[in-house]
């Protein structure tokens, strides 16, 4: 069963984790995200609107999700990061590799 908030928007899988991704729930996020990718979509947007905190365990599962999407011929990008999450994404270099966008529309456009 998929507990992770998600929807399909203009052909992109939009994942909307709530509150935190940390060592306590990173595995569940990964399992759900990978199961959703197995259903066909290859472009993934992490909608961080409701996300307050992401730990290194959280970064890890975003990376594995990105790798899976890329291997399927798609990609992953990040949208609507809050200040705290933005800081972690910048320190980890994720902003440069995956891109950060202020809206889902901009993220959709970036994934092409």
């Amino acid at each position: 069963m998929i507990n992770l908030n998600h929807e399909i928007s203009v052909g992109c899988l939009v994942l909307k984790p709530s509150r935190r991704i940390d060592s306590a729930n990173a595995k569940a996020f990964e399992d759900d995200a990978h199961a959703l990718l197995d259903q066909g979509p290859v472009k993934v947007i992490i909608d961080s609107t409701d996300l307050d905190y992401i730990s290194s365990a959280g970064l890890r599962v975003i990376l594995t999700t990105a790798k899976k999407a890329k291997a399927a011929g798609g990609g992953l990008t990040i949208a609507c990061a809050t200040v705290n999450v933005k800081e972690v994404l910048v320190v980890s270099g994720f902003d440069g590799i995956f891109g950060m966008h202020d809206s889902i529309a901009a993220a959709v456009a970036a994934l092409g």
Binding site: S23, S55, S56, V91, S92, G93, D95, G96
Partner: protein
């Protein structure tokens, strides 16, 4: 007189009926006895089996305890090894002080510093994702590679080149899907120049003698996450009296209240006013509340 069968009299009929009842009761009794015998036998067998199981369990328990003791001894041994490869504090040029406190018995943080040549000293702190023996093994391997300058064709005075070479040497797919973040700096004494590069790692904090505070980092993914990444070197200056702090994310990523995380800026401010690493650890512990810190705490302070 014609003899008549006993049954024919009412008394005889009653006796015969009673006899039949006694026989039926006897048969029932015998059945019950047999059932009782069966149950008693079953009880015996079960008890014996239970005792055997108990004995087996006790033996397994002892074995488990022994294994646990052996594992715990081996973990202690591994922890001792990790601490043994950490460099002894320096008294000067620069003076160093450090704290490494793993959140579990074995963590993924480690660090080092060494003279590259008479004019250059290197200092670095790395954090392997996750905890436990696997993370510790990669951590120790990477530190040993840096300490022994074991990367082909790499100028260890050029931090960007060092990180790019590490990224080629340690792809996560070949390291049991583990990767690590690192901050690597080199100080040239003659020119006072600081060169540094970081890979997905929190900035180092430079507290200048005049009170100014700088946070030093370069953009870049953790080592091993993606191939073919070029890490760039940045430059700065370190003067006598400056203090440089290398940290890992576990040093400040603690929950100060439900849903409230300590910010990197809080750590920067604390380091500005506190010189002793022990006091910083005590302060972070106080913010975290009772129990172990959620991640490894490591802090390396260099005083120039």
């Amino acid at each position: 007189m014609k003899a008549s069968p006993a049954s024919s009299t009412p008394k005889a009929k009653k006796i015969s009926k009673n006899l039949a009842r006694v026989a039926a009761l006897e048969a029932e009794l015998s059945d019950l006895r047999a059932e009782f015998d069966d149950l008693e036998l079953l009880y015996q067998v079960t008890t014996e089996h239970g005792e055997a199981v108990e004995n087996q369990l006790a033996a397994a328990n002892i074995e488990l305890l022994q294994t646990q003791m052996r594992l715990s001894e081996e973990l202690t041994e591994a922890t001792n090894y990790i601490f043994s490869i950490l460099p002894p504090p320096r008294d000067g040029g620069p003076r160093t002080r450090w704290i490494l406190e793993p959140s579990t018995e074995l963590g993924g943080d480690s660090f080092g510093y060494h003279e590259i040549d008479a004019d250059h000293i290197a200092f670095y702190l790395l954090d392997v994702c996750g905890h436990g023996v696997g993370a510790a093994l990669l951590s120790v391997t990477a530190i040993n590679v840096l300490r022994s300058a074991a990367l082909p064709m790499t100028d260890f005075r050029d931090p960007g080149a060092v990180l790019s070479a590490l990224n080629e040497a340690f792809p996560m797919e070949k390291q049991n899907n583990m990767y690590f973040t690192i901050w690597y700096g080199v100080h040239q004494r003659s020119s006072r120049q600081l060169r540094y590069a970081s890979a997905g790692h929190p900035p180092s904090i430079l507290c200048k003698r005049d009170g100014e505070v700088q946070t030093l980092s370069t953009p870049g993914l953790a080592i091993g996450m993606m191939p073919d990444i070029v890490y760039r070197t940045k430059f700065g200056e370190i003067m006598e009296g400056d203090r440089l702090h290398l940290v890992s994310d576990g040093t400040y990523e603690v929950e100060t209240a439900p849903g409230e995380m300590m910010a990197f800026a809080d750590l920067v401010e604390k380091l500005r006013v506190t010189k002793e690493p022990e006091l910083v650890l005590e302060w972070v512990r106080g913010l975290n509340g009772p129990g172990a810190l959620p991640d490894d705490f490591s802090l390396l302070t260099l005083e120039f």
